[in-house]
Amino acid sequence: MSLEQFKNRNIGEQNYKMLDIEHRPEKSWDRFKQAFGRSIKIELFIGLAVTFGIMIRTLFRGETHTIRYPFEKIPISRRYRAIHEMKRLLESGNYRCIGCGLCEKICISKCIAMDTRYDENQRKEVSEYTINFGRCIFCGYCAEVCPELAIVHGDRYETASEQRASFALFEDMLTPIDKLKSQKEYPGFGAVSPNADDNIKKTPLAY
């Protein structure tokens, strides 16, 4: 490709819209007429009327855009990746995490620390699970990789605290057992998509 061609690769028509700029007057008499017309046009006063109307609406109808933040919050998008939550199984109330360790493995800032052991019934149990939120970059990989939808991102974004350990323990992130009824399934990051069934394909075995 020659340089000429390289610089001229645009195809098709550009739909530029020309602004309707009135031509500048040439003669001083025209300029005078323009200035005079602009001075006595009522646009300035329409501007005043608009701001006054807005003041009335703000004052008497409470139409403000302000959210009094520490006292009010707006709901954030479900896609927002805030502090993690650990979910429970609705049937048994047990935590969903099976201790597979995938989240620990994938975490790119290596902030998930977990340990597992066999309990007295020889079942696998998560004995330790912490996330170091001083290092977490909230990338969401852990939520995405988790096969059980056990770890997800919640909507708790006010993360100022005296110590980061306030958020980091398994028990803190786990849905409290008495709130199990109100545990919300998480439609956001890392959750199965609504059309997940359609997306499942048989793994081709024959090569």
């Binding site: 001075s39 501007g47 608009v50 701001t51 006054f52 003041m55 703000t58 403000t64 855009h65 302000t66």
Partner: protein
């Protein structure tokens, strides 16, 4: 005029009047910042200051404490002496100008009040013959505040701010003077008390009906002289950081704003007294309330305009002053002169 002649104006009365004017204006200047923020906020669909105290009223106290406790800082490369006195010039001239401005009607303390009983308080602290000229002069001297402040600093924004001060105040001083000249010719006196007495006959006798053009010109020039939008070029943050106040902080910075608000009040009072009937009683409304209402209206108008209109470029400002307003003012003076000559 007769009633004022009967009473003897004592120095106690003048001192009381000066004190009242001083206190009211400082209080209003302080309160004005709150009102300004509230009104601007409402016009932009915000609640404005609302957390400190009821309706955010104590925000004033919070800001005052902040201003007072800030370090009094003089930058290394600025001219120390001029840097320190410039804010004082602005505030002082603003208050001096108020000396010849009637704020409320005259009154006499009732006899039962101890010490002050029977003291006559005039409507004006100093009813001098050259009233209007004095006010204009004092306000024009206020130009030295921003000018010196900007020049004493070692930064370009200060210098640009100072240059714009000179350009803007000097040119609009001309328009203010000329626009006031026509009413002065009609009244035949420079004392604002005479202006007030000229318009005692209800709304129909207000000067604004005889001199509508002068009123508009005076308002425009007043906006320019008090450095309000659309003529706030001296410290326009988007262009020159803060103009002449770039290096100021704390109380010195505050003094500039006290001066600016005092000037706003002066202009509002002047507009009410010269063009809108002043402090004469209006039907059932007593004069002092009338005055308060008018001044409030003009104050509100300044905030309203600030919320609505964009500001002009420096060259447009000069164009407006010299090519539009000044010829109009001259024309107005000439026509008024002819009318006065023919009717007299």
């Amino acid at each position: 005029m007769e009633t004022t002649m009967i009473h003897e104006v004592t120095w106690v009365g003048v001192a009381i009047k000066a004190l009242i004017a001083m206190l009211i204006v400082s209080a209003v200047a302080g309160f004005g910042t709150y009102i300004e923020r509230k009104v601007l906020a409402w016009m932009q669909r915000r609640p404005g200051p609302s957390h400190v105290g009821p309706f955010g009223l104590l925000q004033l106290a919070a800001d005052g404490i902040k201003l007072f406790t800030k370090e009094d800082f003089i930058p290394q490369y600025s001219n120390r002496l001029i840097f320190s006195i410039a804010p004082v010039i602005t505030a002082a001239t603003a208050f001096i100008a108020l000396a010849a401005v009637p704020i409320f009607p005259d009154f006499t303390f009732p006899e039962w009040i101890p010490l002050l009983g029977g003291v006559f308080v005039p409507s004006i602290a100093a009813d001098i013959d050259v009233g209007l000229l004095f006010i204009l002069g004092a306000m024009a001297a206020g130009l030295y505040g921003p000018l010196l402040a900007g020049m004493s600093q070692q930064n370009k924004w200060g210098i640009i701010g100072a240059a714009r001060t000179a350009v803007q105040f000097l040119s609009y001083e001309v328009v203010t003077g000329l626009s006031m000249l026509a009413p002065i010719m009609l009244v035949g006196s420079l004392s604002l008390v005479d202006f007030n007495n000229y318009q005692t006959g209800g709304i129909a006798s207000w000067m604004i009906w005889q001199q509508p053009l002068a009123f508009v010109l005076f308002l425009i020039a007043g906006f320019a002289e008090t450095n309000r939008t659309p003529f706030d070029l001296l410290e326009h943050e988007a262009e020159i950081i803060s103009g002449f106040v770039t290096e100021y902080s704390g109380l010195r910075w505050g003094l500039f704003f006290v001066g600016e608000y005092a000037n706003m009040i002066t202009i509002a009072v002047l507009a009410s007294v010269i063009f809108m009937g002043g402090y004469s009683d209006f039907m059932l409304i007593p004069g002092w309330l009338m005055m308060g209402l008018k001044v409030t209206f003009f104050f509100f108008l300044m905030l309203w305009v600030r919320a609505s209109w964009p500001h002009v470029r420096p060259d447009q400002l000069m164009w407006l002053s010299w090519k539009v307003l000044m010829p109009l003012a001259l024309l107005n003076v000439v026509i008024t002169g002819i009318v006065v000559m023919v009717t007299a």
